[in-house]
Symmetry: C2
Subunit: 387 residues, 2 copies
């Protein structure tokens, strides 16, 4: 029995979800210590008062009543992918790994190895709904879990497509699991709960709110290896999910549509700006999910001596590089403690070996090797959370 379960449930009930400072405090000091401190009566903050008044057993009862389980980091079911929230940049001041998750449904979250977040507008077009439903079905048939938010429009089409292919779907709620939101989709979300999983980081009775929708989106992006945006108007909530995905160096793909459709404005902008890859079929989604540089991984298999020849300095610099978004020379100076000139010489060598590349804006990236098990000749893995 994990002794953090009650503290984490209590903290989740007393605090606003998606507070990166609290997540950091819990990670560094442990949930037990943070909770005990609040409950000890020493603190006089409103948070401490809430903690002291809280009846955790009532939340445990609500959890049972709605048929949910409460899982926390360290549990076998805890999805490792959520750890990326510990190091990713906050989005709109929010972020951090959730304290725990309430889950209803037979799907084990730890097994979502190839999850695709399918997101888009509530005010979708029939074109977008068709693509969301068909592709979600195709992805589910190929063993991908389809993760979305249970909303009207693209979300609902994606869930339905996955369910109709007898696949796994996961709905991440912005409120607690006592009442599914939106009410008009409650029958659909019930079906997801029977076949896949419906999850929330909030205690069962918490209603959804605007802020909870935004932090909910980080869980959708974090649980999936790839975020696929099907439709989105100029100002679209789907953009928020994309920002979370990019902050965690996840793949983002976008479905094009007619340039005459207001609902394709956000996918087109993401593709135009290089933030998302255009995909025009399920096969392209699946192909894009493979290790990004499979050809280079092949190369490493056949030419191990090249990698054996890396100096310790080169390995050190390579380990400091992320696989997406990249680091500037200044950031690398900070992380490695090296000077600019040494770094540039080292990066040129790595560049010539095809191990790193540079973005148009001059940021340096590692070319990922780690996801291909045979390419572990390097002895280092990417992407690496910095802890």
């Amino acid at each position: 029995m994990n002794n953090e379960r009650t503290p984490r449930m209590g903290l989740a009930a007393c605090t606003q979800a998606g507070d990166p400072e609290l997540a950091k405090l819990v990670r560094e000091q442990g949930a037990v210590e943070v909770w005990e401190h609040l409950r000890s009566g020493k603190g006089s903050t409103s948070l401490a008062r809430r903690a002291q008044l809280l009846d955790v057993s009532a939340i445990e009862d609500q959890t049972k009543d709605c048929g949910a389980r409460f899982i926390i980091p360290g549990d076998a079911e805890w999805p490792q992918s959520l750890q990326d929230l510990s190091w990713s940049e906050p989005v709109g001041g929010m972020g951090g790994e959730p304290l725990g998750l309430w889950v209803i449904g037979p799907t084990m979250l730890s097994e979502l190895s190839a999850g695709v977040a399918v997101v888009g507008s509530r005010a979708s077009t029939s074109y977008g709904e068709y693509v969301a439903s068909q592709w979600a079905g195709g992805l589910a048939e190929q063993g991908c879990a389809v993760i979305s938010g249970g909303a009207y429009g693209i979300d609902a089409s994606a869930h339905r497509g996955a369910l109709s292919a007898e696949g796994v779907s996961v709905a991440v709620m912005a409120g607690g699991l006592q009442h599914y939101y939106p009410p008009g989709n409650s029958a659909l979300i019930e079906r997801i709960a029977h076949k896949g999983a419906v999850i929330s980081e909030h205690p069962p009775v918490v209603p959804p709110s605007r802020a909870r929708f935004l932090v909910r989106n980080r869980l959708i992006a974090a649980l999936a290896t790839t975020t696929l945006i099907v439709e989105g108007a100029l100002r679209s909530g789907a953009q928020n999910t994309v920002s979370w995905a990019l902050s965690m160096q996840r793949l983002v793909m976008a479905v094009p549509g007619p340039v005459t459709s207001a609902m394709s404005v956000t996918p087109h902008r993401l593709i135009h700006q290089g933030q998302a890859t255009l995909v025009s079929s399920v096969d392209e989604v699946l192909a894009g999910m493979k290790p990004i540089n499979a050809d280079i991984a092949d190369f490493t298999r056949t030419q191990p001596t090249l990698f054996d020849s890396l100096t310790d300095h080169q390995k050190h610099v390579f380990e400091a590089l992320p696989a997406r978004l990249g680091k500037s020379i200044d950031e690398l100076v900070q992380v490695t403690g090296d000077n600019v000139m040494n770094l540039q010489v080292c990066l040129t060598g790595l560049l010539a070996m095809g191990l790193v590349k540079q973005t148009d804006t001059g940021r340096w990236l590692a070319i990922p090797q780690a996801r291909n098990p045979d390419s572990s000749l390097l002895g280092v893995s990417h992407p690496q959370p910095p802890f």
Copy 2:
């Protein structure tokens, strides 16, 4: 009076257009010498026999009869952009600057400074035709010449859009100008001839052929600074025009469409593979046509001392780099006569200054500076034809 006019007209009448070897011979030895040699009776090839039998004055009469003028390199009207065909890679074994052009219409080809090639399927959808027509009109209103092939479908829609905006349109024919092809578009092509220009590299009586369509596409791509593909099925002639544009390091842009449309397969593939930029409005086309790295050009304006600090060696390597497609290290070794190590050190320096970049496949590119007149601080210009 340019003394190459008769030789070039004669050579154009005796040979197949788009022969890169002949173009090279004429460039190196001069049209007069090549033509005199063929006519001298010394050669016994079928080409020499054709040249000896040819009555050039008959072609001059045909040219007058159809109201055309025959322009050649060195004429004030000759478009400089065609010079890029002298150094670009052949496509399907074809290429080279045309020997001359027959032109009907008031537009001076030398003034097509901001031409956009709008290309796509003949079997276009109403969506594609709508976009082609609307955007061509929008581009024409902004002073861009709309260049296309006069074919059914996207070509015709683009020409019509430009004409209806009272703009300049140029139709490049795959056969001579005595009969416009296709016959069903002859009224449209007549209108283009009255308001813009209809052009061909073939004598007036030559009929179109499959090979002539392919070499015609190189002229469309060469005359335009940007090629915009609106629609194209899996196997599309528009792909050929795109290949020519890429061979000349021209910008290629593509219009997305529904993934359910077979006519958007080629635009989507080009975007997915990074060969074309997705554009979703006329404004994005216009913005993309601006100097590619305007921000860096701005930077060079404000920081001239950085560029003054380039060594002669760095300038030499920078001049050897193309602005698109790039050169491999091996190719740079050949071009510069430098060794790999020196080149890498030099390229790192240029990279750090934001003057060069590297493609995913490891090829090196110059970041263009030359098209912005204020950025001539470098004293070198890109893209440079290698002669």
